[in-house]
């Protein structure tokens, strides 16, 4: 029996603000899971703390709502202990790129085969609109007493330098496109990152839906709004590293594209590189049966509750009469 979209929904009341971009991302995740027919019990959604952090409660898969900034370590630990499960980590921009920036960089170094989605609204939503790391320098959203004094971090470029092997950007009001990105991210072998532009109508009155749609940016000729969002794939951009030798050129291209902002904001896949071994593969290179016998499923005791681990070899080294 095929799984339906509704099979991925819980009956938990969703208390995001009306019009919040988070809804689109939630839908896209659920649609992607349904499209891929992932059995709900085989997937776990991990989240950090923030408005975005509530996401798992609305999805009927295992849902682990962790601590502010720590979603990646929690999720990586689970994935490494049970590589069979689908692990999707989600969280806010403050969560992932502010307090969590260190884990972000370190996760890139590991390349654990999983997905990380950032709900990028440029504000700390749940704490009432302070500037988040992606808010541009000098911007003053309505909740700020003064213009933002910090430079913004560039999540795409940061992911690239950190070592993420799949890097994409989505837009929360283009749900189908985002859903496809998520499916590709899940299919990717390695650590996949999706930065989702997510309007927060309550606190971010700059990067609004209307702004993304270019309502403030009307073509003087056609008098039509010029949408800022465009799709990389429609421009012939190819982010795939086909051969490791391309890396430098590819990286330069990613950096350049990731610096686009203001009038043109690309979405789609910026970068994909499957030439880097996953962390799981690196473990398997040391522990040959790691995939078949990962930590979560190892038998540790016999039917009489006696440990079956045999440390005689190690103890014999300690024997005094050796």
């Amino acid at each position: 029996m095929a799984l339906k979209l509704s099979d991925y929904k819980t009956d938990v009341h969703n208390d995001w603000c009306p019009g919040c971009g988070d809804f689109g991302i939630l839908n896209a995740i659920q649609m992607a899971l349904a499209d891929m027919q992932v059995p709900p019990y085989k997937a776990t959604i991990f989240s950090g703390i923030g408005c975005s952090g509530k996401t798992p409660h609305f999805i009927r898969t295992y849902g682990i709502h962790t601590l502010h900034g720590r979603v990646l370590p929690f999720a990586q630990g689970a994935k490494l202990a049970n590589p069979d499960l689908e692990m999707i980590a989600v969280g806010g921009d403050g969560d992932g790129l502010g307090i969590g920036a260190g884990h972000f960089v370190s996760a890139g170094r590991r390349n654990v085969d999983m997905v990380y989605i950032i709900f990028d609204n440029a504000v700390y939503g749940l704490t009432k609109g302070q500037a988040a790391p992606t808010l541009k320098l000098g911007m003053k959203t309505k909740s700020l007493p003064q213009p933002n004094v910090n430079n913004s971090v560039n999540p795409i470029a940061l992911a690239l330098v950190a070592g993420f092997t799949f890097i994409a950007r989505g837009y929360s009001y283009d749900v189908r496109h985002l859903k496809d990105l998520i499916k590709k991210a899940v299919a990717h072998k390695g650590l996949a990152f999706i930065d989702v532009q997510q309007p927060c109508p309550t606190y971010n009155d700059i990067n609004t839906k209307e702004w993304y749609q270019g309502f403030d940016n009307v073509d003087p000729e056609t008098h039509k709004a010029m949408p800022r969002i465009y799709k990389l794939e429609e421009t012939g951009y190819d982010g795939v590293v086909h051969d490791p030798s391309e890396i430098n050129a590819e990286m330069a291209q990613v950096i350049e594209k990731s610096n686009e902002w203001d009038d043109k904001i690309p979405i789609g896949i910026f970068y994909q590189n499957e030439h880097v071994p996953t962390y799981q593969e690196r473990i398997a290179a040391r522990i040959p049966d790691y995939f078949a016998n990962p930590p979560s499923t190892q038998q540790i005791a016999d039917e009489n509750d006696k440990s079956i681990t045999n440390i005689d070899r190690l103890l014999s080294d300690l024997k005094v009469d050796k």
């Binding site: 819980t10 009956d11 938990v12 709900p40 019990y41 776990t44 991990f46 703390i49 509530k54 798992p56 409660h57 009927r60 295992y62 849902g63 682990i64 709502h65 962790t66 601590l67 720590r70 990646l72 370590p73 929690f74 999720a75 990586q76 630990g77 689970a78 202990a81 049970n82 069979d84 499960l85 260190g102 884990h103 370190s106 040391r286 522990i287 016998n293 990962p294 930590p295 979560s296 499923t297 190892q298 540790i300 005791a301 009489n304 509750d305 006696k306 440990s307 079956i308 681990t309 045999n310 440390i311 005689d312 070899r313 190690l314 103890l315 300690l318 024997k319 005094v320 009469d321 050796k322």
Partner: protein, 649 residues
């Protein structure tokens, strides 16, 4: 001293970090153990990689030993600093083995002797009008009856090279450690063969190095036996048949071995002294033998970016059903406070091996203290259940490690296993570990979900409210058992709630587990009493060895005391302790910290205020003598309420 003292002595070897003090001490320890003797050894070193003074104390006896003493009977050295640091502690009739080439080294020429130490040494020498040099220090010792054994290491090395017809060997100054050791063995008249075997064993990974060291040792031994024949030195080590099934246990390995047996299959860590050894031993032995032949187990050890990630990853892993742990010391543990609470509210079994070292802050990172008790019990904002268990010695720590995983699973909460630098950096002979002694108890788990596990809405109830505060646990990936976790207060399904009634129920559920644990945990894991007497010493953790040994010494003088070792620090075993302290005339709090943390804890829970306090916080573990003397003073009625112990270099 006229009579020969056989098989009872305190031997110390010192030298710069990186110059092989450890290897020499390991050889010595192993040789003694292989010679049927009991040993207890401990290592002291600076937070430094090369050059600062480190030393290793080994006490040897016919009978089990659990602690070190302040006095040194044999000081084996091959540099100037070791003499300066320890000459005062060598007993009359004891020996100093030293490099005859360093006698003229001035105190001021040894830059690693830091100011405060230099001032003390200068004072001592000046008081007796002696030169501020190694010679002065040796003279000082000699005047007190210490017997001096100069050894011309460099010259012997050259001879050795000549004999072996390999001039390059004369440059192998790295071997002086074994040479100094060999000189000690010679004057102690230790069995050559057993000694050689021990050298071979320690260097077993490098056969050539081993052989070379054996030969060099023999060369020195011959020299020393010839040169020092007929000396007044009267200590001897006589080998015997080894007892069956004895091991020489390393404190840095016991917890790791326990983890293997416990079935811990996922450990995270961020490097920190003295906790890293635990993880590194697991990693170095990541492939595990199993009783089922042909099959292998394995431990995934992950070095994380910091301790926050370490505990978070371990929790993530624990959610999948793998027994999971992390190991750290004070600074790292401080960073784990927040996630500990997450594990608490989500009832995740997780083990934190907390290797205490001297704080606060970076403190004395390679030195010893029991300063984290209050913190371990209270770490993390808000209130959540946790178990804190403290091991008293290496052997205990092996079995306790298995137990803490059982406790974590059974009560579904974080368990902090308190160890410390004194345990981690000591070595002792003891009975071989029995991996079958402690059964594996994974607590209440479900793998097949039935309707009774589900709530009205058809969802599995991970945090089901019932008479039993322990709700059966499932792991991620179980069919039909989808649940949620959140750091927020939660419903039975694990969703966020702010309902005031449910909140109270969930708090009660979680905290009530502590009552169950307190009921079920066997007494011997709560509090253990040794001996009996009017004076009751209440202690915890690694002071156990010194206390046990001091008890014995006191008993031999007819002074009987009782020692109450608290093992379960939280939830606190109030009733049991009460019953054990009943009738005590004098209660003495003894611990390795400034404020007497255990003492406060005891008072907080039982209302009993210790009559005396024996504390130590100079970074060095308590010695047998210190405990002995402190108790003696109490016994004699001339002790202040608070005795601060200060021995140790």
């Amino acid at each position: 001293m006229e009579k020969t003292t056989t098989n009872s002595l305190s031997w110390v070897i010192g030298g710069a970090q990186g110059s092989g003090v450890d290897s020499a001490a390991n050889i010595f320890s192993r040789a003694c153990a292989a010679g049927g003797l009991e040993i207890f050894g401990k290592r002291e070193y600076y937070s430094n990689i090369k050059g600062e003074h480190s030393y290793f104390t080994v006490r040897v006896s016919d009978m089990p030993v659990h602690s070190h003493v302040d006095e040194i009977n044999v000081l084996a050295s091959f540099d100037a600093e070791t003499i300066f640091r320890h000459f005062e502690d060598v007993t009359s009739g004891g020996a100093i083995i030293y490099d005859s080439d360093v006698v003229n080294t001035l105190l001021s020429e040894v830059p690693t002797v830091d100011d405060p130490a230099a001032v003390r040494i200068r004072k001592t020498l000046e008081k007796t009008g002696l030169a501020l040099s190694v010679q002065g220090a040796l003279d000082h010792a000699k005047r007190r009856g210490v017997i001096l054994f100069p050894v011309p290491f460099f010259h012997l090395l050259q001879e050795f090279a000549q004999k072996a017809n390999d001039p390059a060997l004369s440059k192998l100054t790295r071997m002086v450690n074994v040479m100094a050791l060999s000189a000690s063995m010679a004057i102690l008249d230790f069995d050559n063969e057993v000694f050689a075997k021990a050298i071979q064993f320690i260097f077993r990974a490098k056969k050539k190095v081993a052989d070379l060291n054996v030969s060099a040792a023999a060369h020195v031994s011959n020299y020393a036996k010839a040169k020092f024949a007929g000396s007044d030195f009267l200590y001897r080590l006589k080998t015997k048949r080894t007892a069956q099934d004895m091991i020489i246990a390393q404190g840095s390995q016991s917890s790791a071995l326990g983890k293997m047996v416990a079935g811990c299959r996922f450990q995270t860590y961020y490097p920190i002294t003295p906790a890293s050894d635990d993880s590194e031993f697991l990693e170095a032995n990541e492939i595990l033998d199993l009783d089922s032949p042909g099959k292998k187990g394995s431990t995934v050890v992950v070095q994380t970016e910091d301790e926050i990630a370490a505990i978070a990853m371990a929790i993530g892993s624990a959610l999948t059903g793998a027994r999971s742990a992390t190991a750290t010391s004070g600074p790292g543990f401080s960073l784990m406070a927040e996630a500990l609470g997450w594990a608490g509210i989500n009832e995740v079994p997780i083990v934190v091996s907390l290797y205490q070292r001297a704080g606060p802050s970076t403190g004395l990172p390679t030195r010893h203290e029991q300063g984290d008790l209050n913190f371990a019990i209270n770490a993390g904002h808000g209130e959540f259940p946790r178990i804190v268990l403290a091991s008293g010695d290496i052997e205990e720590s092996f079995y306790d490690t298995i137990k803490v995983f059982n406790l974590a699973d059974r009560y579904q909460m974080p368990v902090i296993h308190m160890l410390d630098k004194a345990i981690a950096n000591s070595v002792t002979t003891c009975k071989n570990f029995d991996p079958k002694k402690i059964e594996i108890d994974r607590g209440s788990t479900v793998t097949q979900i039935t309707d009774k596990d589900k709530g009205a809405a058809g969802n599995y109830l991970r945090f089901k409210l019932s008479d039993n505060p322990i709700s059966p646990r499932v792991v991620l990936g179980t069919k039909d058992a989808i649940f949620w976790n959140t750091g927020d207060e939660h419903t039975e399904e694990g969703h966020i709630t702010e309902d005031p009634e449910l909140r109270v129920q969930m708090m009660n559920k979680r905290m009530n587990k502590l009552q169950v644990a307190l009921r079920e945990i066997p007494d011997e894991d709560k509090v253990v009493a040794y001996g009996s007497g009017d004076i009751v010493l209440v202690g915890w953790g690694s002071t156990k060895g010194a206390i046990i040994d001091a008890m014995e010494k006191l008993a031999s003088e007819g002074v009987k005391i009782k020692f109450v070792q608290i093992r379960l620090m939280s939830p606190f075993p109030t009733d049991l302790l009460h019953s054990m302290l009943k009738g005590a005339k004098t209660v003495v709090d003894i611990e390795m910290n400034y404020s007497g943390q255990l003492g406060s804890l005891v008072r907080q829970h039982t209302g009993i205020e210790a009559d005396y306090q024996i504390v130590k916080f100079n970074g060095r573990p308590m010695s047998l003598d210190e405990v002995y003397n402190a108790v003696k003073r109490i016994k004699n009625g001339d002790a202040p309420r608070r005795q601060v112990l200060k021995s140790g270099a």
